[in-house]
């Protein structure tokens, strides 16, 4: 059975992402984003056939948020599926919605991804990923003085949260590429200032300079506060439709076609201390594998020429240098040079995260889907506030990353379906 053409016909937000929303409950945070997405179409909630919803497991301490939000999202009487795959949650949710329509089983499907981090304890949620490992380690006699035997778990990573473990990746990336910390400062400053042009972004620093980033305190060398993402609250909604329904329900013919999706998993390459799976965290073989699969499905032979912009999953600034290489948007080790000459700027040859990226806005469960939504807005030409890429975006790529450095999702969008 051939897959059906699917378009993103609407991109909805609940408003600007912020640190805290004590004024609303989880369903109340999500509902305005649902309404915003519907308002930008000719749809009513009754025309939605099915819903996929995602957020991080345990972050809010609410184990089954889809259960409590079902009526607020218009889920009553419809299929609702909940997705939780760590950092890739948002794009897994989007890809689930895509499968619903591409399979021909449903015509109009809504993907909802969100996080409300002020209600819970995100570090406990993240700790939950590693705690079984740490408890297991206790059985094998690590040196617990000053936490030295547990490095990533307690001694290093514990103090810096996920930054502790990302710092190993950053060091390795720099060694592999020959780049310096100044390049991480450059891309961080670029993204903070891009965020200032995105009305929905959380951390907005107009005209941010690399020197400003270099002044922020170190968390775990080489990563500083300026190199890391905030914790955000917010909700994001995408509406996907088959070709026929896209024509009927989209406000205009400016829709973003889903040309190729792919997803891949490696073993827990970093942090898995039990099974001996620690390998180079900057290698990220799976990202390249998944990108190739997505490009093939999208009919893209030369990503460097055929793709005009990317939204990558960058919880940490060095990843804005690493992912473009792994996603084959630039040659291996070329990112430091690219950022230095301005090629990753909104006006550059290969704009990376014009939205400001995860680095500026991280409502974790939503983050990977925001990459798709922002890429869709770029294809539609509807990115607001000055972060629209000036040249015509024929194809855009969105990327998600999560788990113990191990899950990767890639989605290619374009102004026309695959021929």
């Amino acid at each position: 059975m051939a897959r059906k053409d699917v378009a993103i016909i609407s991109v909805g937000y609940n408003g600007r992402f912020v640190s805290k929303r004590p004024d609303v409950s989880i369903p109340e945070l999500i509902e305005p984003a649902v309404r915003d997405a519907l308002r930008k179409t000719k749809l009513t909630i009754n025309d939605i056939d099915a819903i996929a919803m995602g957020n991080m497991q345990t972050f809010e301490g609410v184990n089954s948020p889809h259960l409590w939000a079902s009526d607020y999202i218009g889920g009553t009487g419809k299929p609702v599926i909940r997705i939780a795959t760590g950092g890739t949650t948002g794009m897994s949710t989007f890809q689930s919605a895509y499968y619903h329509v591409a399979s021909g089983l449903y015509d109009v499907v809504m993907a909802i991804a969100w996080e409300k981090q002020d209600e819970g304890d995100s570090q406990v949620g993240l700790g939950g990923i590693l705690m079984p490992e740490v408890f297991a380690m206790f059985q094998f006699g690590p040196d617990l003085s000053e936490g030295r035997g547990l490095g990533i778990g307690v001694g290093s990573g514990g103090g810096g949260g996920s930054t502790g473990s990302a710092s190993f990746q950053a060091m390795s990336y720099l060694a592999r590429s020959g780049g310096g910390i100044e390049h991480i400062d450059m891309i961080a400053a670029l993204l903070r200032s891009n965020a200032a042009k995105n009305p929905y972004a959380h951390l907005q620093v107009p005209g941010c300079k690399p020197e400003d980033i270099a002044k922020t305190p170190i968390i775990s060398f080489p990563l500083r506060f300026g190199h890391t993402c905030p914790t955000s609250c917010g909700a994001h909604v995408l509406i996907l439709a088959s070709k026929e329904k896209a024509k009927k329900y989209a406000m205009t013919d400016r829709v973003a076609w889903v040309k190729g999706v792919a997803c891949g998993t490696s073993d827990a390459t970093f942090g898995n201390l039990i099974d001996g799976q620690i390998t180079d965290p900057a290698e990220q073989v799976v990202a390249t594998m998944v990108a190739k699969k997505a490009y093939a499905r999208a009919g893209i032979a030369d990503p460097q020429k055929e793709i005009q912009m990317a939204e990558v999953y960058d919880g940490f600034a060095h990843q804005d240098l690493m992912w473009p290489e792994r996603l084959l948007l630039v040659g291996d080790g070329k990112s430091p040079e690219m950022v230095a000459k301005g090629a990753y700027n909104i006006e550059g040859d290969m704009p990376i995260n014009p939205s400001g990226g995860v680095l500026s806005t991280n409502a974790i469960g939503a983050s990977a889907m925001v990459r798709v939504g922002e890429a869709a807005l770029q294809v539609m030409g509807l990115a607001e506030g000055g972060h629209q890429v000036p040249r015509r975006v024929r194809n855009a790529v969105a990327h998600g990353w999560g788990g113990l450095f191990q899950f990767v999702t890639v989605t290619v969008l374009g102004e026309a379906p695959v021929q």
């Binding site: 297991a136 307690v154 001694g155 103090g159 190993f168 060091m171 060694a175 201390l273 099974d275």
Partner: protein, 151 residues
């Protein structure tokens, strides 16, 4: 009409229960058994040649059972590291500590420990050669490795 606050904050405590994790203990048991004799033991997949340290009982790449125990060298190459300039509460440390990952000769995976043998942390870089420094009296525990020493 006066707006009535509709959302309340409810303080709640998720008292996590006691769980009984089942873990694959074979790899680490083999590792600490070797540590007692100051040896680094892992397993090799005969199909793809990958040497895992610690060594699991099946190969992730081939999805095949592996049972060939191999000893790798206690000298290796620094893969990556991070420098902690402050303790877990954010207080600056008099002497920073470096947590390092190193690939020991003959292994395809990395082990982690503290790194010693440097005077200025800014001179430490990936690719440096390191050696395991063992406790005098090893007892078959992860703590038998005191640290990695730059050589």
């Amino acid at each position: 009409m006066e707006k009535i606050a509709e959302t309340r904050v409810i303080e709640s405590n998720w008292d996590i229960s006691t769980y009984k994790f089942k873990i694959e203990a074979d790899a680490l048991n083999l590792l600490i058994k070797g540590f007692k004799e100051k040896k680094v033991l892992g397993r090799k997949c005969q199909s793809c040649g990958t040497v895992y340290v610690p060594g699991p009982t099946y190969c992730r790449k081939c999805q095949k059972e592996i049972d060939t125990i191999v000893e790798v060298k206690d000298t290796g190459t620094l893969g990556t590291f991070t420098v902690n300039l402050a303790d877990i509460r954010g207080n600056p440390l008099d002497k920073p500590n470096i947590v390092a990952y190193a690939k020991f000769d003959g292994s395809d995976t990395w082990l982690m420990s503290r790194l010693e043998g440097w005077s200025d942390w800014k001179t430490v870089h990936s690719g440096m050669r390191v050696k395991i420094v063992w406790k005098d009296k090893t007892e078959g525990a992860l703590a038998d490795i005191l640290h990695f020493q730059i050589i």
